[in-house]
Symmetry: C2
Subunit: 732 residues, 2 copies
């Protein structure tokens, strides 16, 4: 631990200044017209992987780009230290991001091509063996909707089961299942109705819609590919691409006008960018007066149940609730397969915690877990990600608190369990202008795929924003009580109605006025006190009344009293790990896709046994009837122990049949051969990834496969325990 800390110390000298930049109180660069909670930027380049592979020659070429980033990082930090105004800093941040983008593009350009991966071959496999495919294909298909076939469905189920065991069971979280249908007021309070939108332009003649940033990006890239584009135009286009992520509607409109961008499909003029809300709208009930949406995230279902969950937890903080369920986002023009879809499975955790006590009791269990951290600091310095233990990162203040760090480490461990390649995983911290104003610290677990760096899991300390929003909208108190270490004396200020006078003046309305007085906050009571002083009046808003009620000191008296309180109210902070399970699954599939050395037509998926769609294949070496009773015995053994298997007793060669099961990621193959009949009956077990085999008794088989699937034994351990079996896999 300390070793890491020492080694990494030079990187962290400016940690405090970078962090202050990314804290909630820090600058907000652009007015958050499209709030950052709702920003969906997730595609980053493969800079870090390269960092590992970078040669001195590559580093020399990157050096000026790194320096250019750092120049602006330093400028911004200096201004921040001088307490400069936000407006002064904002343009520098825009330039910083443009320079970061240029660095990443350069890294990508210099990266050696990943020769082992061809996306079209993986996609062909996934479609052909029905992991997943476009929905409603026989009706022409719908973009952004995918159906999972038997293999994908089983793999996803295994990933979700593992998620439940890894998070819900391990932390004793309260799992809930809320509806996808959500009435409008809930999503107004959460901010989605106003801000969950993308900028869209429309073909003025045909009405076809395009996502404005995608349209501009495609235009710029196409022009840059055209050799005839003059150098000065090139510079401008490159600059647009670098800044595009931070553009608002006006910026985009300016670009569209400047380059005279038309519809790519028709050549027609385009409208100005308009905000398109990405929620699917519907109506609940027949009257048409209850507007509703399909939830864009599962989190809100947890927030609106906070009171019940707190009660379930006997009123105590901290506790975490979790939910697995569908989210829906009406993307304007989805591309990129499972990465950007309109209906998807999310796994979200909302950990409710006292804002003043974010330590985590089990933190010591994970403190040595090493994460690849791409901190805000590193990003501003033009550096890559740095490997660091989560303990050291929290101690150095790079990760804001133990609870956030704990969940990041647990996410890392989960991603390892499902089969993410550790060399293709990083945690990227949000810069301050990427976060919503209320967020304290955010880290995305990003996986490197052929689409670039993809955000798969978000980790956000969202402070108490969500609960306060729902409390404001519903007037239902969403807070926990915290016992004070010693009782505290507080002064209570109350507005007491002069009931006789008020009753006489307002008759039947008096009761409502009493109720309104009781609702006043201390500040409001003090205002009332000032207002009614010296014969003045105070205008009291009363629910259901058209006009405020004028109150004088004859009708109301302000009273102060001392009171001993033993508890205080705490609106908990929320720390939210949020998983896009489809994205994780896609990254696992890319990271598991392999080709056999020397035979590139023989591709396979090296899936972890815990997530593989089928646990094992069962293959009699020939169709000889003598093997049948042994096969039946093995089948019974597997069924009895609820081990999933696929029997392939077709006539192909054993090698060809193995290739078929390897392709769909079946990790183990049981072969029944002519030796099997000898007492005690035995079979061979083959590990698909290494093609190595061992021989064991049928009675030992189920137990071993269960251990391998449940991660209680590794293949290497199995090889030590059982004798090896040598054979040549005939291919025909």
């Amino acid at each position: 631990m300390n070793r890491n800390l020492l080694r990494l110390a030079p990187l962290c000298t400016e940690a405090s200044r970078c962090l202050s930049l990314s804290a909630a109180s820090a600058i907000k660069v652009t007015p958050p017209q499209l709030s950052q909670r709702f920003s969906k930027k997730s595609k980053h380049r493969r800079s870090d992987l390269l960092r590992v592979m970078a040669t001195p020659e590559i580093e020399a070429q990157l050096e000026p780009y790194r320096a250019a980033v750092k120049e602006y990082g330093d400028k911004i930090r200096a201004l921040k230290e001088q307490g400069a105004a936000k407006a002064e800093i904002a343009p520098l941040v825009v330039e910083l991001k443009a320079r970061k983008k240029r660095l990443e593009d350069k890294e990508l350009e210099l990266a050696p091509v990943d020769a082992g991966f061809q996306r079209d071959r993986l996609e062909d496999l996934l479609k052909r063996r029905f992991f997943y495919d476009q929905s409603f294909a026989i009706y022409g298909g719908v973009t952004g909707l995918y159906d999972f076939g038997p293999m994908g469905c089983s793999m996803k189920k295994n990933m979700l089961d593992l998620w439940r065991r890894h998070f819900v069971r391990e932390e004793k979280m309260l799992e809930v299942e809320c509806t996808a249908l959500t009435p409008e007021p809930v999503l107004k309070a959460s901010g989605h109705v106003e801000r969950f939108a993308d900028w869209m332009v429309k073909d003025v003649v045909k009405g076809d819609c395009h996502r404005a940033d995608h349209l501009i990006k495609d235009f710029c890239e196409k022009q840059l590919q055209d050799a005839k584009t003059p150098e000065d135009v090139r510079t401008g286009l490159t600059d647009v691409l670098a800044r595009l992520e931070g553009f608002d509607n006006h910026d985009m409109q300016a670009v569209i006008e400047k380059y005279n961008i038309k519809s790519p499909t028709t050549g027609n003029d385009l409208t100005e960018p308009v905000a398109f809300n990405m929620m699917f709208a519907t109506q609940i009930g027949p009257t048409g007066d209850m507007k509703a949406f399909l939830r864009p995230e599962t989190a809100q279902g947890i927030f609106v149940n906070f009171k019940r969950l707190l009660e379930f937890n006997q009123g105590k903080l901290p506790f975490a609730a979790a939910q697995i369920g569908s989210g829906f986002r009406n993307e304007i023009s989805p591309r990129q397969g499972l990465i950007r879809v309109r209906e998807f499975t999310m796994c979200e955790i909302e950990h409710f915690v006292d804002p003043e006590e974010k330590s985590y009791p089990k933190f010591s269990k994970v403190k040595d877990v090493e994460l690849m951290l791409f901190s805000a600091c590193n990003q501003m310095d033009g550096k890559g990600a740095t490997k660091m233990s989560v303990g050291a990162a929290v101690e150095a203040g790079i990760i804001d608190n133990e609870t956030l760090g704990y969940f990041m480490a647990r996410t890392h461990l989960y991603l390892m369990r499902v089969g993410i390649d550790p060399a293709k995983l990083r945690f990227r911290q949000h810069l301050s202008n990427e976060m919503a104003h209320y967020a304290k610290d955010c880290w995305d677990a990003e996986c490197l795929t052929s689409y670039g760096w993809i955000e798969c899991v978000g980790h956000a300390d969202r402070s108490c924003y969500d609960l306060l929003q729902h409390e404001a909208a519903t007037k239902v108190k969403l807070a926990a009580e915290k016992k004070l270490t010693e009782p505290r004396l507080v002064t209570i200020v109350e507005a007491m109605a002069n009931k006789a006078a008020l009753g006489k003046a307002h008759k039947a309305d008096a009761k409502k006025i009493y109720a309104a007085l009781e609702q006043l906050t201390s500040e409001q009571v003090e205002e009332l006190e000032k207002g009614t002083a010296d014969g003045g009046a105070y205008a009291l808003a009363v629910e259901g009344f058209e006009k405020p009620v004028e109150l004088t000191d004859a009708l109301v008296t302000v009273r102060r009293a001392e009171k001993k309180v033993h508890v205080e109210e705490v609106v908990p902070s929320v720390i939210e790990p949020s998983f896009g399970i489809g994205r994780v699954m896609y990254a696992v599939l890319e990271h598991s896709f392999r080709q056999r050395e020397g035979d590139e037509n023989r591709s396979f998926l090296a899936l972890k046994p815990a997530v593989a769609p089928i646990e094992c294949a069962l293959l009699p070496i020939s169709s000889n009837a003598a093997l049948e009773p042994i096969v039946a015995r093995v089948e019974e053994e597997l069924m009895e122990n609820e081990i999933s298997y696929r029997l392939d007793n077709s006539s192909g060669s054993i090698g060809r049949r193995y290739a078929r099961t390897d392709e769909i990621g079946v990790p183990f193959g049981i072969t029944v051969d002519f030796e099997s009949a000898e007492e005690p009956q035995t079979v061979t077990l083959r590990h698909a990834e290494t093609m190595k085999q061992i021989r064991l008794k049928i009675t030992e088989l189920a137990d071993l496969i269960q251990k391998l699937s449940n991660e209680k034994m590794t293949w290497a351990e199995a090889q030590e325990k059982y004798p090896a079996f040598e054979t040549k896999e005939a291919d025909s």
Copy 2:
């Protein structure tokens, strides 16, 4: 088996006639304006349970009602045998149903009240301990939407896991996961856009909506409760109630006019009943030209993937696909808690099978399973349900085929595993007028609850309807190939274009005409042959053309050829078990709700270990520090073995703490007491339902609990194996 068959023979003498009534080819009583697939009638009365309990006195009172039903059952059968016209039979069926309803009402009236069950107490428990509760309650709540809390969520998850093991894994079904968002054309083809509707009336002033049948029912019941309602009006109202289920919009409008029914909330006039489609509508994408719905059932997702699934199954029939997922129905005014909701989880199986071969290889494994069958015959005879083995029922032709019978038996076994009371379960066969015209045989598994008999699982032989509908809509062939036992010679009739002449006559259009000719069926080609004979012409419809093309024998020739075919195309029949998991769960909760003898305030849920939300409670008998290391050791043991538990180390008496865990259905309680410390360390294990305890070593604990949860051992067996532990449960 044979014994059952003999004993039941007298009931079945008319089986063939009753079945012919309920076969697809039989009479259709009313024009299916609201198709029967979409009918949601599910509430039947508790006639069967009573049958078991009926005394001779009760039977004597019921006799005339039974005879009245049988009178019409016999009349209908007689007419059917004479080949009477549908129109002649229809009114008799309406009367039959009215008489059935009167019989059931009488049975209900005579039923002894189930003293052990109070729904309000169960509901209080489910809400208080957060099994489930109304969604968005802090926003005022939405009727028909429920959120599952930690207890409900866990119980439901366990039920779904068990469902997967019991059905998907056992039968090697192909599980899929399709989207809830469904484009309109898919649901047009399935019939939902046109027919998935309820009749609704609107308040002409306020616009409030009421489901017409509910409104009429409430009105009639209220009038009947009023002592001042004269006897002749009473008779009319009772008759309306009896016939209501079969009413169409005109019938309901007639009743509303006759009794001058007004809005129950405002007293205003009501509109005529209009059909309200119960699907939630939305739009996919930003243009607004892709109308879509949330799926009302998961089945369609399987049908549209039929081709891929057949390929996955190497082109072979039979196979079954399964899906677990959300369904959405925009009920007009949902009531009855979890029974009628707007968003719910379904588990559906579509078993695709050669229509000529519906035997089931594993049928012999279930043939002795006894089901309580309420056949169409029994219903027409005014009889109750009959206990019968599924083997005998298929043999006697009461259940149409082995596959359907197999799934019914498997459903029965599943319902037993999750905790349905066998005395409160029956399989009710649909009468012919309850089935869609294409359905061959339908049986609903109904559970008796305080809401009456509730349909929880449907079992339908839907013939090849769904696949043909989607094939017609998409022109994509949805059929399997079946190898003929020997090749067959068939005559092929083709319309051959005279290309030179046709090309000259139609120029650029000729190609489209060739294509249209290729699409003609044999029948159409023969029509063309007739049409073009003797210098005549045939009008050929061509896609994209405004008018048909006139063809003469100069332009087209009909050719006949013999061809040897080795396979034939088979459009599979679909046998569909369809589970409403929320309904099953609610029935399980009602059937498991108990009160301790002698202490009716102490209620508990006697849930099966396999579905209980938490597997065990862990209770140190006192807060003495000496017990802490033992508690920690037990916790570790449980965590290690992934056994869910709830630690209650609060200060209440052990009896009171047990009562708290009993209430939420925790089946086992581990007590750490002062004997526990003695080597080898032991604990006691208490069975919540019986309150009996045994004593065992900590090292044996995890294995025993796993066996009890996985149904590998019963509590009675555990009691035999381990010594009993006697104690008195102090209550305070």
